[in-house]
């Protein structure tokens, strides 16, 4: 009797603690002959079939054990025992029975001492708890089920050849995608809970014998030092892990592809993920890691090299081309040969304002188009693209607002800025164009030179998890530099492309 009252009180208390949330269930069930236990869980988070299965198993278990108990008791009981003893024995029986129940542990079932705070944690994580009030124990059934996508290819990082899988927003599935590519016990996964209110699970993994241990220490220190209430995006994590937050250049690589994650981990980098998004944060990286795609390694040797060089050229042209145009047209007309100069002059003659304004008009138009096309629904996206391109490109020239050459320059720049395989660097490059354009319109080539100088110094100052950002050019490592610009074939005893010194010196 007391049991039932206790249980009801406990259920009331639990409901109050969980603020009467409508998806929180705390009910009394019978598990075994005598004892009633409290079953509590969030109905939105559990996998009901599995839980049922577990309960059935537990019930069977308890019945068979109580059966054994009864048999043993009957066999051993010979004298008359008074009521209290019987009661106590009964109680003892039930408690031992429950203890035996509780001692069962399987994959999804663990047993712990009953702790109210921890109960809240476990239930919020999606586990089902069975509370045994008598023995002050609780059994955890870990059958959480969180909704997530299937591992489809991420839209933002497409490759022509190579695996088309992508990471998802679920810890187990992600680690599964990684572990199936590295079947090795040296792959270590560590978890940490961040955010006092949100209590998000953040996990990071690395391969033990090649990892850069100093970088690992830095990552751990920084993660442990995060003391915030709410963690709701991976961007926040990235900012905490960054060395220089104010720099426009990303110091950590974000990717959604497991093959890229694996390739980087095997070089000694560390990947950090959370359940919030399907992006993995990889560090420490160099500037040139942003220019590598799995495509390079899945194509032919010469082709891979050629495309890598093209991509690096894309970086240069994306930043400098509008600035060059402005500088040449405003200050240094004599650089162009005579025929080209004549054509340019006839074009430019009719534009009423200076080249900088012209360039700004076109660039801002392109930025608006790009920003809008991210949010366009697919159905009208194509149409707007064509209309925008033709109408804006053609009409704006006939209206005399912008010259033909400018449209070509801007189009070329836009295309080369999308060549970079990483989105953050893409936005960085597109933003960097504007200061260069201003410098070019004020000082011509001199401005571009000064701007480049400042940019180079800034890049040299950057570090990613305390590793130099511009390796392998600085510090100068000729062997690694060849690997950045050219792609060598895989046969033969060679080392894999390596950005920093890893512990092991001979690989394959």
């Amino acid at each position: 009797m007391t049991q039932t009252i206790d249980i009801k009180l406990e259920i009331k208390r639990l409901n109050k603690q969980f603020l009467h949330s409508s998806d929180f269930i705390a009910k009394e069930i019978q598990l075994g002959r005598e004892e009633n236990v409290i079953l509590c869980y969030y109905s939105s988070l559990v996998n009901k079939t599995d839980v049922e299965q577990n309960l059935v198993n537990l019930k069977k278990l308890s019945e068979s054990s109580s059966q054994n108990n009864q048999n043993s008791k009957q066999n051993s009981n010979q004298s008359v025992i008074n009521q209290s003893e019987k009661n106590s024995e009964n109680n003892q029986d039930s408690s031992t029975q429950n203890q035996q129940l509780a001692n069962e542990e399987t994959i999804t079932i663990t047993t712990e001492k009953y702790d109210e705070q921890k109960l809240v944690d476990y239930v919020c994580n999606g586990e089902t708890l069975i509370i045994l009030l008598q023995s002050k124990q609780m059994i955890r059934l870990q059958n959480a089920e969180f909704a997530h996508k299937s591992p489809e290819e991420p839209e933002n990082e497409q490759v022509l050849r190579g695996s088309h899988e992508g990471l998802v927003e679920n810890l187990d599935v992600n680690i599964q995608l990684i572990r199936k590519r590295i079947k090795n016990n040296k792959l270590v996964v560590k978890t940490i809970q961040l955010g006092n209110e949100t209590r998000t699970t953040v996990y990071y993994f690395y391969v033990e014998n090649v990892v850069d241990s100093e970088a690992l220490k830095i990552v751990e220190n920084r993660l442990n030092a995060i003391d915030i209430d709410m963690l709701y995006s991976t961007g926040q994590l990235e900012e905490y892990l960054d060395d220089q937050v104010w720099s426009p250049f990303p110091q950590l690589l974000l990717t959604e592809r497991p093959d890229r994650v694996v390739a980087n981990i095997l070089e000694g980098k560390i990947a950090v993920m959370s359940d919030l998004s399907n992006n993995a944060i990889i560090g420490p990286v160099t500037f040139f890691s942003f220019y590598q795609t799995p495509d390079d390694f899945n194509s032919r040797v010469v082709v891979g090299t050629f495309y890598r060089l093209t991509r690096l050229f894309g970086f240069v042209s994306a930043i400098f081309l509008p600035a060059f145009y402005i500088a040449i047209v405003s200050f240094h007309f004599e650089v162009l040969p005579l025929e080209l100069a004549n054509k340019v002059k006839t074009d430019i003659n009719q534009i009423p304002y200076r080249p900088l304004i012209e360039a700004m008009i076109m660039e801002i138009t392109i930025e608006l188009i790009r920003e809008a096309s991210v949010r366009l629904p697919k159905s009208i996206g194509q149409t707007i693209g064509i209309v925008g391109g033709l109408v804006i490109g053609d009409a704006i020239v006939s209206a005399g607002l912008v010259s033909n050459l400018m449209v070509i320059v801007v189009a070329f720049t836009a295309i080369s800025s999308f060549v970079v395989p990483s989105i953050e660097l893409n936005t960085t490059i597109r933003t960097l164009r504007f200061p260069f354009m201003f410098l070019a319109s004020l000082f011509g080539f001199f401005g571009i030179v000064i701007g480049t100088f400042l940019l180079v110094i800034h890049l040299l100052n950057l570090s990613s998890l305390k590793r130099p950002y511009f390796s392998p050019i600085i510090p100068f490592d000729p062997v690694a530099m060849r690997k950045v610009f050219f792609r060598g074939p895989y046969y033969g005893a060679n080392r894999q492309a390596r950005s920093f010194k890893s512990k092991r010196n001979d690989r394959e």
């Binding site: 007309f333 004599e334 005579l338 100069a341 004549n342 002059k345 006839t346 003659n349 009719q350």
Partner: protein, 324 residues
């Protein structure tokens, strides 16, 4: 501003400038005149007639009238070297008579005026009719006392077309007034070892025209105290020879001997002209100074005209085209 020209003399100089003007569809060439004391002054004056400032950064050619060139030519060119904007890869030419017709001709040409003359002179260079010079290399030679300039010489032909007349010989810094003809110019190039793509010489051989093209030429210099020998070995390709039958060896040898004699004779004529003009256009002075400094004299121009210079030509016909 792609073409300029000077005439007159320091103190009373007239200059013409031709520049392209941009209309909505095409470029038109406009000519303006300026008068003044010195080249820079003249430019100031010319600017008064134009609505934009003149920018000489696309200068392609500079024409100088022969009377002006008889002065020290560097006086006119100094301004171009001092300004960092002006290109010193432009070409120079000396013209006979008035400058104005040359400019008027270029008014209705499709390309800009300077380009027209630039290409004109470049084609002469490629045919080895003039020695290739740009403003910079010409000025190097002006300052060098061991070699003298020989610039292209243009005159106005009958149908109001500029025509290349030959090479104007300079001694030191001024024009001597003496000219080599175009044929002699070709020979001068052979002597100077500065051949272009296609060098052709024509003669009349026993009433039959023969034209040869030079395949290779080798020049050596044998220098002694007062005598310089220039052995030349020339390889010819036959361009025109209606008389044919060169498969017979002796016929070929005859032809070769004829060419050899003719060319030697003509070259001797060229050298005589050079010595009369005191113009060492071949650069013999440099070789003497480098390898036999004892025999080099400071006033090389004078000394040059007293030397005995004899070319010795050795000719061989190596190819005859697709006909035999």
């Amino acid at each position: 501003m792609s073409l300029t020209g000077f005439e007159g003399e320091i103190g009373k100089l007239t200059a013409y400038y031709a520049y392209p003007e941009a209309t909505t569809t095409e470029m038109k060439t406009v000519i303006i005149t300026g008068k003044g004391v010195s080249p820079r002054d003249v430019r100031q004056d010319a600017e008064l007639n134009v609505e934009q400032t003149m920018d000489l950064s696309v200068l392609s050619t500079i024409l100088i009238s022969e009377k002006t060139a008889e002065d020290d030519i560097y006086n006119y060119l100094d301004g171009y070297f001092r300004d960092s904007n002006s290109p010193i890869t432009s070409k120079l030419a000396i013209v006979q008579g008035d400058l104005k017709p040359f400019f008027e001709v270029s008014e209705d040409k499709q390309s800009t005026a300077g380009e027209y003359y630039d290409r004109f002179i470049t084609s002469l260079e490629e045919n080895s009719m003039v020695i290739p010079y740009t403003l910079q290399t010409a000025s190097t030679i002006i300052f060098e006392n061991a070699q003298d300039l020989a610039l292209p010489y243009l005159k106005m032909g009958e149908e109001k077309h500029p025509k290349a007349e030959g090479l104007a010989l300079f001694s030191g810094r001024s024009f001597t007034g003496k000219i080599l003809t175009i044929d002699e110019g070709v020979l001068l190039n052979i002597l100077n070892d500065s051949l272009g793509f296609a060098t052709r010489i024509s003669y009349l051989y026993e009433d039959s025209p023969v034209t040869v093209r030079i395949n290779k030429s080798k020049r050596k210099l044998n220098i002694s105290e007062d005598k310089i020998e220039i052995p030349l070995k020339l390889e010819f390709i036959l361009s025109e020879f209606p008389k044919d039958n060169l498969d017979k060896k002796n016929k070929r040898l005859e032809l070769e001997k004829f060419l050899q004699d003719e060319i030697e004779k003509d070259m001797k004529g060229v050298i005589k002209k050079l010595q009369e003009a005191k113009c060492d256009a071949i650069g013999l002075g440099r070789h003497v100074r480098a390898f036999h400094p004892r025999w080099f004299k400071e006033d090389w121009n004078e000394h040059f005209s007293t030397l005995d210079i004899s070319p010795k030509v050795d000719v061989e016909i190596v190819k005859t085209g697709i006909l035999e």
